[in-house]
C-alpha cells in the first residue's frame, strides 16, 4: 500500500502527460491518412473481445434456431417459398429488361453497366457510442473486403466500409453525421447530397434551392457520382420539406429504405474486375433461381 507515495511523477503531472498524448493521438488519427493501416492492426488485436461480446447474442439466436417449433418452421418455409416464386417471376421479366437495356446501350454506344458481384455477410457488433453510427461485420481483408466498399441490405444502401480488419470490418452507416452520399431523385434525375444527421431514421438533403422540383414521397437512388456507391441503388424516400423563404435553402428530410436499426444480414458489392473468388457472381444467382432458362437468353 505504501507504493502509492513518492514513486514516479506526481498524479497531476501524469494527468497532464496523458491528456497531451490523447490530444496528440486524436490529431494523428484524424489528420494522418496512413494511420488507417495501424488501426487495422489494432482492430485485429481487439477482435477477440468483439467475438466474446457477440457470443450471448449468437447463442440466443442459435438456441432460437434449435428450439423453434415445427409450426413456425413450416410457416417460414411457406412464406419463403411464396417469396421465391414471386421474386423469380419478377426476375424473369427483369432479365429480359436487362438484356434489352444492354442492347439499347450498345446501339447508343453508351458503356454497358456491369452487374456487381456480391457476398452475404452477417452483423457482428453494433457500436454503442451514440455519437457515431457504425457496425462491425464478420468479413474482412481475407474475404477481399476493401475500404469504402458499398454495403446494402435487402431494401437499400446501408453504408460503406470504413475500416478493414483481417476477419472483420467496420461499416459507417449512411445516417452517421460524417457520412454523405450522392443521390438523385428517381422521378426527374435532380441530384443532391444526402447527409446523415445522427438519427437512424433520417437523412438531410443539403443545399436544396427553394425552387427545386422535389416532392414528399420522391424516391432517392444513388447517383454513382463520387464513385464510391454504384449507381441506381435505392437510398431513401423524402418525408418532409420545409420551404422557409427566410433561409437560404429548403430543409429536406429523407428516411432511408434500409432498416438501420434492425440489421442482421448484409450484402457486400464488388465491381466485376476486382471480385474475390468467394463472391457470388450475378449470373449464377439468376440461373439458380429460375430452372428453365428462357429462350431469349439462349440466343
Amino acid at each position: 500500500m505504501n507504493e502509492v507515495f513518492a514513486r514516479g511523477p506526481s498524479l497531476f503531472v501524469r494527468l497532464v502527460i496523458i491528456l497531451v498524448l490523447s490530444i496528440g493521438a486524436m490529431m494523428v488519427d484524424t489528420k494522418v491518412a496512413n494511420f488507417a493501416t495501424a488501426r487495422t492492426y489494432l482492430n485485429s488485436l481487439v477482435s477477440p473481445l468483439q467475438y466474446i461480446a457477440n457470443l450471448p447474442g449468437a447463442m440466443l439466436s442459435w438456441s432460437a434456431d434449435r428450439f423453434s417449433s415445427r409450426q413456425t418452421l413450416l410457416k417460414n418455409n411457406e412464406k419463403l417459398t411464396n417469396q421465391v416464386t414471386l421474386m423469380s417471376e419478377q426476375l424473369q421479366r427483369f432479365r429480359i429488361l436487362e438484356q434489352e437495356n444492354k442492347n439499347l446501350r450498345k446501339l447508343l454506344d453508351a458503356p454497358v453497366r456491369d452487374s456487381m458481384h456480391k457476398m452475404i455477410t452477417e452483423l457482428m457488433a453494433v457500436d454503442t457510442s451514440p455519437y457515431s453510427h457504425q457496425i462491425v461485420i464478420n468479413k474482412g481483408a481475407l474475404d477481399g473486403v476493401f475500404l469504402s466498399q458499398s454495403v446494402l441490405d435487402d431494401s437499400g444502401i446501408v453504408g460503406q466500409i470504413s475500416e478493414v480488419g483481417t476477419t472483420n470490418s467496420r461499416v459507417l452507416l449512411i445516417s452517421d453525421v460524417t457520412h454523405a452520399i450522392p443521390v438523385r431523385i428517381e422521378r426527374n434525375n435532380v441530384r443532391f447530397i444526402a447527409v446523415g444527421d445522427g438519427s437512424l431514421d433520417s437523412l438531410q438533403l443539403q443545399h436544396v434551392p427553394h425552387s427545386a422540383d422535389i416532392e414528399e414521397g420522391d424516391v432517392l437512388v444513388s447517383s454513382g457520382l463520387g464513385e464510391v456507391f454504384p449507381e441506381g441503388y435505392p437510398v431513401g424516400t423524402i418525408t418532409k420539406i420545409i420551404r422557409n423563404e427566410s433561409r437560404p435553402f429548403a430543409e429536406v428530410t429523407a428516411t432511408p429504405f434500409a432498416k438501420l436499426d434492425r440489421i442482421k444480414y448484409l450484402l457486400l458489392l464488388w465491381p466485376q474486375v476486382t471480385a474475390p473468388a468467394g463472391a457470388i457472381a450475378p449470373v449464377t444467382i439468376l440461373s439458380d433461381a429460375i430452372e428453365p432458362a428462357d429462350p431469349e437468353e439462349k440466343q
Binding site: 496523458i18 473481445l49 453494433v126 457500436d127 454503442t128 457515431s132 453525421v177 445522427g198
Partner: protein
C-alpha cells in the same frame, strides 16, 4: 495463476465486453458506463494498482472497439479517474448514496467531455438521450460497489 492477481484485469475485460455487447436499440441508450464505474472503483479501493495510466490504456482500447478517434475516450475517462485518485481517501469515507451522487457528477463530466471532443472532431448534434447512461450508472453503482468489494475482500486483492 493467482486469483487475487487476476480479479482486476478480469473485471476490466468483463467491463469491455459489457460495454460493446450488442443490444436492441431501445435498451442501448440506457447502457451504463461499465468501464468508467469499474475503473473508478479500483482507483478508489486500490490507487496503487489502478490509476490514470491504466485508465489511459483502457480508454485507447475502448476507442479502438468503438471506432472513435484514438484518444477520445482516454481523454474523457482520465479526468474523472484523476478526480477519484486525488480524493480517494475522502471517497472511501462517503456513504454509498454520497458515492452515487459523486458518480453522477463524474459520469456527467465523462459524457460531456466525450460529447465536446466528438463535436470538435465530427460536429455531432447534442441530444438529451446521450445522458441516459448517467442515470443508469448512478443506480448501478451501489450494486457494483457491493459486488466488487465483496470479491476484493474474499480474494484479498491488494
Amino acid at each position: 495463476m493467482k486469483l487475487n492477481q487476476t480479479l482486476i484485469p478480469a473485471s476490466i475485460i468483463v467491463a469491455f465486453i459489457l460495454q460493446i455487447m450488442p443490444m436492441p436499440a431501445s435498451i442501448d441508450v440506457y447502457r451504463p458506463d461499465w468501464l468508467l464505474l469499474i475503473l473508478c472503483y479500483w482507483t478508489m479501493a486500490l490507487p496503487n494498482r489502478v490509476g490514470v495510466g491504466a485508465t489511459a490504456i483502457c480508454g485507447v482500447v475502448l476507442d479502438v472497439l468503438y471506432g472513435t478517434s484514438l484518444g477520445v475516450h482516454s481523454f474523457a475517462m482520465v479526468i474523472p479517474v484523476y478526480l477519484v485518485a486525488a480524493n480517494y481517501q475522502r471517497f472511501r469515507n462517503y456513504s454509498v448514496v454520497q458515492q452515487a451522487i459523486m458518480i453522477f457528477i463524474l459520469s456527467m463530466l465523462y459524457h460531456m467531455l466525450v460529447y465536446w471532443l466528438q463535436y470538435w472532431l465530427t460536429g455531432v448534434q447534442f441530444r438529451f438521450e446521450f445522458l441516459w447512461p448517467v442515470i443508469t450508472s448512478v443506480f448501478l453503482w451501489p450494486w457494483l460497489f457491493w459486488f466488487l468489494r465483496r470479491y476484493r475482500r474474499l480474494l484479498q486483492v491488494t
